[in-house]
Amino acid sequence: MSELLEVRNLSKQFSSHRGLFHARRTMYAVNDVSFALPAGRVVGVVGESGCGKSTLARLILRLIEPSDGTVSFDGLALLKQRAGDMRRLRARMQMVFQDPYSAIDPRYTIARAVMEPFQIQGKRFTTAEATATVEELLAMVGLSEQMADSYPHQLSGGQKQRVGIARALALKPALLVLDEPTASLDVSVQAQIIGLLEQLRDELNLTYLFISHDLALVKYFCDEVLVMYMGRIVEAMPSTDVNPRHPYSKTLLDSTFEPDPKQRRNIEALSDEVPSPFDLGSGCAFAARCPSVSARCRNETPILSTPGRSHAVACHHPN
């Protein structure tokens, strides 16, 4: 098996206390998540706001510490690494953030922003080497070298996101975690960025974990899909051409419109009141909104069947 990344029973709880006279409440942002990411694949994580997909991304890169579970990257147990080793390892696993406006220091020139990863890793360059590296990185993401001396505010959103990608690629990583890299961009710019990511994947043999709320985009871009709801993976699809079996995945698909007026959807009525993520009781988190709910769903939490390469679903009544 050539799993680049393996996540086992990963969980993260946040607790809040609302003052002396209120009980502490626990929120399961990520709850018992397991999956594997083989080298060279693009795996999509799709879900709505608050489902835990961004927390999952940060847990995987150990930007926040998990409450439970393990992450192994290229056979190394990440959570056992010491700070120095972790920093060196991070050179091989990088992240592209959703908001390119806040991901780059506004006082840095583009050249300095792109060189920052090397500085963090303690690599020294001569001026000539640095200039060459900046040029190479900017060219890789389709930016002209003249931009090296610009500041972020002089760039458009799409250009800034290209800088974000250049920073992530600087240290020649194997894994790129992309957290909604196009969510704040116009469709024409989104298409450019996705095209760039496709090209870079082929050229540099990268592995992507692609986090998105946009199922149409995930189907277009990813080899495999994980659907998250309330901190759990509710369905793992080994390819994007299979029909979703979990009622939530089906709802998500039915809520995505086709760009074709001849294929209008008949939108089923559904409660849009998402339950509170605090103190989720036993039972399926989707039960309150699910069209095929039964008594069992309210009492017994469904477990994701056979995680791995096959189509897995966490539902008592899958389609």
Binding site: H213, L215, D260, E273
Partner: protein
Amino acid sequence: MMLRVDNLGVSIGSVRPLSGVSFNLGKGETVGIVGESGSGKSLTAMSVMGLLPLINGEITSGSINFDGTELTALSEAEYRLLRGGRIGLITQNPMTSLDPLKKIGPQIDVVARLHLGLGKRAARERTVELLGDLRISDPASIYHLYPHQMSGGMKQRIVIAMALAADPDLLIADEPTTALDVTVQAQIIRLLMDLVTDRNLSLLLITHDMSVVAQTCDKVVVMYAGTVVERGTVEAIFDSPHHPYTQALIGCIPRGLVGEMRLQGIDGTVPSVVHYPDGCRFHPRCSRAEDICATIVPELVETQNAAACHFANEET
């Protein structure tokens, strides 16, 4: 015709963000205005609502005719009667369009009291009924909630209720679902479409999302850099777009499965309002551009769709 916008031009200070914007909206019709950020679609909505003075803008040419009334000639006092009365507005961000310090019920009441002259009690009964119509369960208790106690989707329903409170003929929805999750978006779209049918409303839907347009609209107006580049029925726009920009915009939508198609982005970026290119404003990014495009502004050519392109009549 419920709304007829003809050759609308707008200036803000020394810049002219809108020019030559024309389209019609019939009774009971849904017309979508699509375009990327900076295309002028929200500014078009603001012009119809008479809100340009808020941003120091003014209408420099053209007319906006609402059900026989010329809006560009109205005084502010006359506009106030229409706004929120016969024309309702739904804004993009429900988090900021409600007063956080007031219960939501009275915020809706005030619209009916102002525009329909209802008393306190009658307005309140009407609000509760309206909330029920919007498929909000237990409207009598919801009436007493504050905005922070509600989810995003619920807040957007309240904003829709406010827009409907005075029984308008025209509803302008500016990116009504952009801030919402996809499953909630679908519910709000369903609600809006039901309202259009049940109340025979005219809806001007402003969005950047071509898929939402395909799902909801009868007619489409495609805007680019402050001008209308193409308009037509939704079928014609999606089946046989004539303007290269419309074609490119449709080519940017991800569809199908991995490997089935290659997304075609549009090179370059939307021009800034201070540097609109001469001639066709799309020509620097257009794959079909020739010399004529850089100098002569193309007129909207009436074909099956109306496209503002020098080559609109040629087969692609």
